[in-house]
Symmetry: C2
Subunit: 366 residues, 2 copies
């Protein structure tokens, strides 16, 4: 049994949970090592306090599940089978008393499946496993860190490609395509989220999406993107100037940079998420841009692009070795400038390691 399953089982024992029935691709992968996105078909991992866990997947994926290293039972079903009956039998083989407490992912499982599992266990209450799994996933081990570092190196490369593509009159979508083309040549098949290349007024909109806006002198170009490597995400933002910018734009850039560097500097075991957010927020507010920094400082990063810890000014969570999160202050002043600078960082035993390495000093592309 792997360590992750052991930790989930300890939690189940403490809380008298007889079965954890995990159905999201991300959490099944985290606990079993097997990743699959079976769309509307059922994928599930059943975990017990003492008994052996089992995996449920479409028959045609059984082979991949084995190959991924899963050594326990796999229940494969075809489209004509009744997977819930097969699940019921597999559980009855393991537990022969009344099931009274099951944990599921309440934000993930849909009502149709909830009705099916409720019928299997009519005397059971259902509690959420999500918070526990988020807390487990928050602490990255050495293998996970190594993969995230690779994903960060590719994100650095992507920004470098994007910056080299900047030219008068090019559209956001053209630059974006060039970035993704370069990544595909390196075998990248998935981005962490829809790549953002935003320029001018569009960069000053925190909800902007890339379009046919053209790059022109005196504007910022903002890149926000991430690469998926072995199911782990990176996430970087860099903002560069095209041609000379005015004093106000420069002030905004330097303020964001100062806030970002301070938040990185403050990151270490024992501080709180809130302290890190506030370190950046205070600097931005002192210069008078507080109201133009409308979002949290950052978010945890891993199998999902947004996970724990949430880097908000109210989160009193104490930072610990193994956490990976983004530090991404931004200032968005409509019709003036939008600047955001984002790194991915890892909390070490003594301080912090910055995983994204593309330079952050103001770059003016001529």
């Amino acid at each position: 049994m792997n360590q992750r399953l052991n930790k989930l089982q300890s939690w189940m024992k403490e809380n008298d949970i007889q079965i954890s029935f995990i159905t999201s691709s991300e959490n099944v992968f985290y606990l079993s090592g097997f990743y699959s996105d079976p769309h509307e078909r059922l994928l599930a991992l059943a975990v017990f306090q003492e008994d052996e866990p089992f995996l449920v997947c479409p028959s045609m994926e059984k082979h991949s599940a084995k190959r991924s290293g899963w050594n326990f039972e796999i229940i494969g079903y075809n489209d004509i089978d009744h997977p819930w009956e097969m699940i019921h039998k597999a559980i009855n083989k393991r537990i022969n008393k009344t099931i009274t407490k099951v944990s599921i992912e309440k934000e993930h499982m849909n009502v149709e499946r909830y009705e099916a599992i409720s019928q299997l266990f009519p005397h059971s209450s259902f509690v959420s496993a999500e918070d526990k799994l988020r807390t487990l996933r928050m602490m990255k081990d050495a293998t996970e860190l190594k993969i995230i570092e690779e994903a960060c190196a590719l994100a650095d490369y992507a920004v470098q490609v994007g910056v080299s593509e900047i030219k008068e009159g090019k559209t956001e979508l053209e630059v974006l395509s060039a970035i993704e083309f370069a990544l595909k040549k390196k075998g990248v098949t998935e981005m962490s989220f829809a790549t953002m290349v935003l320029t001018g007024a569009n960069a000053a909109n925190p909800h902007g999406t890339p379009g046919l806006n053209k790059i022109k002198k005196g504007d910022f170009v903002l890149f926000d993107l991430g690469v998926v490597v072995d199911r782990y995400c990176s996430d970087i933002t860099r903002t560069v100037a095209y041609g000379d910018i005015n004093e106000k734009q420069e002030e905004i850039y330097q303020t964001v940079l100062k806030a970002q560097l301070a938040a990185v500097e403050a990151s270490r075991p024992g501080t709180t998420a809130s302290e890190i957010d506030l370190t950046a927020r205070r600097i931005i507010s002192e210069v008078g841009y507080g109201e133009y920094f409308p979002h949290r400082l950052g978010h945890g990063l891993g199998i999902s692009v947004h996970e724990y810890p949430s880097m908000t000014e109210t989160n009193e969570l104490i930072l610990q070795e193994g956490m990976v999160y983004t530090i991404e202050p931004g200032i968005y002043v409509p019709d003036v400038a939008g600047v955001r600078i984002e790194d991915d960082v890892f909390i070490t035993s003594e301080g912090v390691k910055v995983l994204t390495k593309f330079p952050k000093e103001l770059q003016i592309i001529k």
Copy 2:
């Protein structure tokens, strides 16, 4: 009140459903004209038998909702608000008797929200609105058809770009990037699904994904892609040969083409989905490739890339004017060839209109 809402209301009256509480982006868009993907935040449309419907969305989206033409109440909430309380009040203003029957999307709504809505209406049963909405969405009107035609024209263009990019030694991902780059230059921001460019052995795998496989003489190159226009999807597949192919490969191509043309020809009001699937399937089986055509003939197409009607050999649904679906027979013989040819078609009052127009005769790229 628009016609779509009227049809839903008629169904609610027939089935004594007091409230339909619709939460998927696609169905909210279909019924209200407002599209939003608020991620983990709540988006909802509440529909009543007689009373005015209301929309629920994050405050910052209220303006877009109005601009999209929604003229009824909009409840905007901030992150510190309690949207379920606001919903409860808005419903109480409309109905002052006990709620006993509510329809929801059971395949879409998660358990967390189901618990919240169940608490609001403790005496209510919950039924699924999904099948009804799928049936409504199956019949396209003239405006929808026009948009889908535009999306199909862009899909044709995409295949044309892909074919022109074929060259010895190029990888699948390189060709794929060139296609998406050309589309982005035309302002396309979303594909119907992850674009497929597959060659050689990879094309002969119905679950292949594009990678670093290189195009070489004597292989097929298969393109499967779709473009989203105004939230509607297209979906096309074409397979072309690079250099001379052998007799077996040619036989496979011509068999798929013959089956595809026959299924298009058979498409008209009054036939069944099953008849269309079997028209193609019989032709493929007669040549001896039945076991290498492992999927249904096609699927409905619209706001979702897979919707009703499902074109299977067992679906006795009668085709009617207004339906849009794909016709995509394929033959996949490991180590020999993979060929699929797919069109999007629209059932007219008298027959069928083919919406994708890229040529289907065997093309040999030199």
